[in-house]
């Protein structure tokens, strides 16, 4: 049983006109085996929250804490966080030319598991995980994310989660840009990993669509850099009906 606690988190980014505060006091606690949906309009700071948990150097934490089973996550380097059991499926996965997917996956698994996986088991494990996500085995020899379509990138993010077996996974708009088939495959990948582990999931999304596939235990409405309201799955239904207008005061953002 693990806990990821975010306490009064304030984060700013450097802009041309000086530092700009984006997160304004986020409080959130996720436990093993729970799935929390974070829903909010574009620009509300969802990716900033995800990157701050992962330790992206662009985001400056000015106040607050992130604790993994009481350990100070903010004091850890990016790679240490991953090895401690945190995983971020990125909204925009990065291309790394010349580094093959298979080399990358093996390096990452070796790092997070603390020892190199046995070759025979590993090959089988990767093949199985790729086939579960309906990824052509030929991708193993391609450069990391290079020339992948949006959907292929998202499948590979979920593939990495399945292989690295984190305690907590932050999925940042893993559903965006997917057609219905891809959404089904990706959701199944997440659900399979949930079923086979005690993972706690922070499911960041703009739309309610993915919640039909991945059932959240809790729903948090994220507006203007903080959690505006929390509730059960019924809160997502309300958002589906009425959009974010009750929280933002404008009609611009319509989740659908």
């Amino acid at each position: 049983m693990s806990t990821l606690e975010i306490r009064d988190l304030h984060v700013e980014v450097e802009t041309e006109s000086g530092p700009k505060e984006i997160l304004r006091g986020v409080d959130l606690t996720v436990s093993s085996n729970e799935t929390h949906a974070i829903m909010g309009p574009n620009g509300s700071g969802k990716s900033t929250l995800a990157y701050s948990i992962a330790g992206h150097p662009k985001y400056q934490v000015t106040k607050g804490q992130v604790l993994l089973d009481g350990e100070d996550v903010l004091a850890m380097e990016v790679d240490e966080r991953a090895r401690a059991g945190l995983f971020l499926a990125m909204q925009y996965p990065v291309e790394v030319p010349g580094v093959s997917m298979s080399n990358f996956l093996r390096s990452a698994a070796t790092a997070t598991r603390g020892e190199a996986p046995k070759v025979r088991h590993w090959v089988k494990e990767v093949k199985g995980a790729m086939s579960d996500l309906e990824i052509d085995p030929a991708f193993a020899e391609r450069s990391v994310n290079e020339g992948f379509s949006g959907g292929e990138k998202k499948r590979h993010e979920v593939l990495q989660m399945a292989l690295l077996k984190p305690k907590f996974a932050v999925l940042d708009e893993t559903d965006s840009g997917l057609d219905v088939d891809a959404l089904r495959v990706v959701s199944k990948g997440v659900n399979d990993y949930k079923a086979s582990s005690d993972v706690g999931v922070l499911l960041i999304t703009h739309y309610t669509r993915i919640l039909r596939y991945i059932a959240p235990d809790r729903v948090h409405v994220f507006v203007n850099g903080r959690v505006a309201e929390s509730g059960g799955p019924e809160l997502a239904e309300e958002l589906e009906e009425n959009g974010y207008v009750r929280f933002t005061g404008t009609k611009e953002e319509q989740p659908a």
Binding site: Y51, A54, G55, H56, P57, K58, E77, V78, D79, R81, A82, R83, L88, M90, Y92, P93, V94, E95, V96, P97, G98, V99, N103, F104, S107, A108, A111, T112, S143, V144, N145, E146, Q160, L164
Partner: protein
């Protein structure tokens, strides 16, 4: 006109940029370099003249197109005739072995031999003629030349290793080497330069009709060394050359390969890899002279640079001149140069030039991109648990991967990878 637009989006330049909005996206410093009809400057090859005689060239002052990137003061007088006055004369030694690395052994059989010849040997010059003053100085000054003759189709499994060793610290030498593949000969050759001193050299690669040469020219000089060399590649009818140029060490290394096609059907790939540290000046000036019809050229050079804070910058120069002359119908050419700036205090100049005098070609294109080490890539790899030093190694190895993968001598591939890792360790420690 089938010249294609230059492809400016390289892996270095495009990663991050298109896929993430986070900052730290690489700085682009691109010189597309196509000379347009209205360009007032004469193309480099129009000013180019050739001669064996050093006095046919003026002493460079530094403003000349050919010399404008080279720190002349560091040439120790190779360019103005003073080198042999100011430094004692030495010799460059050349040895040839069969195999590479631990498995290398003395040559057996008569199909491949090393000859030491005088200046009057009629074969010298078959590869090409000096086109700058230092090359002409080398030609005017060498005493004995080395000729490696291959008159057999050697197995790929048994590369030749030609080791060229500098004259020693403080000494100057003028060298002449010819690697000669007779009709339909085949060889994989490692041309390994090492040692200390100041060297001006001409290296001829004479590849006869139907012959096939794969050569990796390694410049792994000691820190003090200055090497200025002209490579003359002569390509016979239907001959193939794969030339990989690797520059890892030396205070100043300047290489000027020229491709001379002698008859139709020539096929040349020039690959390059260079890794410059603080204070090093590595310069590559290529001329691919498509003077006859139906020849092919592919150029792919990749460089990494790492300066040191407060020290002299690491500096690399890459000039890629491709000329398609009027007679060269059916030419197919593409050239690419990419540079990866691992630290600040590093400068990579990259100038591709493509001059096309006939429209009847298969294709012609070029690309050049110089970018900073991409912090988004580093973040992505580290976010998967990979420690920083290893993540950097993965990215740099990936950058050079295409070049190293084409080297067909496994033990040399291992050595190049180890050399790159050693370079990287220097900044991570």
């Amino acid at each position: 006109m089938t010249a294609q637009d230059s492809d400016l989006a390289g892996p270095v330049a495009s990663t991050g940029g298109g896929t993430t909005t986070a900052p730290g996206s690489p700085v682009l410093d691109v010189d597309p370099g196509i000379k347009t009809a209205s360009s007032p400057k004469t193309a480099p090859w129009e000013e180019r003249h050739t001669s064996y005689d050093v006095e046919a060239f003026e002493v460079p002052r530094g403003r000349e197109e050919q010399w404008r990137f080279t720190p002349l003061r560091r040439l120790r007088g190779l360019h103005d005739g003073s080198a042999s006055v100011s430094s004692p004369a030495g010799v460059v030694t050349v040895s040839v072995q069969a195999g590479f690395g631990d498995s290398a052994s003395d040559l057996a059989g008569s199909g491949t031999r090393l000859e030491t010849v005088g200046r009057d040997d009629a074969r010298l010059g078959d590869g090409g003629i000096p086109a700058d003053r230092v090359a002409a100085q080398a030609w005017s000054s060498f005493d004995r030349a080395h000729v490696v003759v291959v008159n057999e189709a050697r197995s790929d499994d048994e590369p030749l290793t030609v080791t060229v060793t500098g004259p020693g610290e403080g000494k100057v030498a003028f060298a002449h080497l010819q690697l000669r593949l007779e009709h339909h000969a085949e060889a994989v050759v490692v041309l390994d330069h090492r040692g200390s001193g100041t060297v001006a050299a001409n290296t001829e690669f004479v590849v006869a009709d139907g012959a096939k040469l794969e050569v990796v020219e390694v410049h792994d000089w000691a820190d003090d060394a200055v090497y200025v060399g002209a490579q003359h590649l002569s390509v016979g009818r239907d001959a193939t050359i794969r030339h990989t140029s690797v520059t890892l060490g030396g205070d100043l290394v300047r290489l000027s390969p020229v491709i001379n096609y002698r008859a139709p059907g020539g096929d040349v790939e020039l690959d390059g890899l260079y890794f410059a540290d603080a204070g090093q000046h590595f310069e590559q000036r290529l001329l691919v002279d498509h003077s006859v019809a139906h020849c092919r050229s592919r150029v792919m050079y990749k460089g990494a640079l790492q300066g040191a804070e407060g020290g002299t910058a690491a500096h690399t120069v890459w000039i890629g001149d491709v000329l398609i002359r009027k007679a060269a119908e059916g030419t197919d050419t593409y050239e690419l140069n990419r540079n990866l700036l691992l630290t600040d205090n590093a400068r990579a100049d990259s100038v591709p030039n493509l001059e096309i005098e006939t429209g009847e070609i298969v294709g012609a294109g070029h690309a050049s991109a110089t970018g900073r080490f991409d912090d988004e890539q580093l973040f992505y790899l580290m976010a998967r648990g990979i420690p920083e030093a290893q993540a950097r190694r993965l990215v740099v190895r990936g950058f050079f991967g295409e070049v190293i993968a084409k080297v067909r001598v496994p033990a040399l591939r291992d050595r190049l990878e180890a050399a790159i890792e050693a370079e990287l360790e220097a900044i991570n420690s």
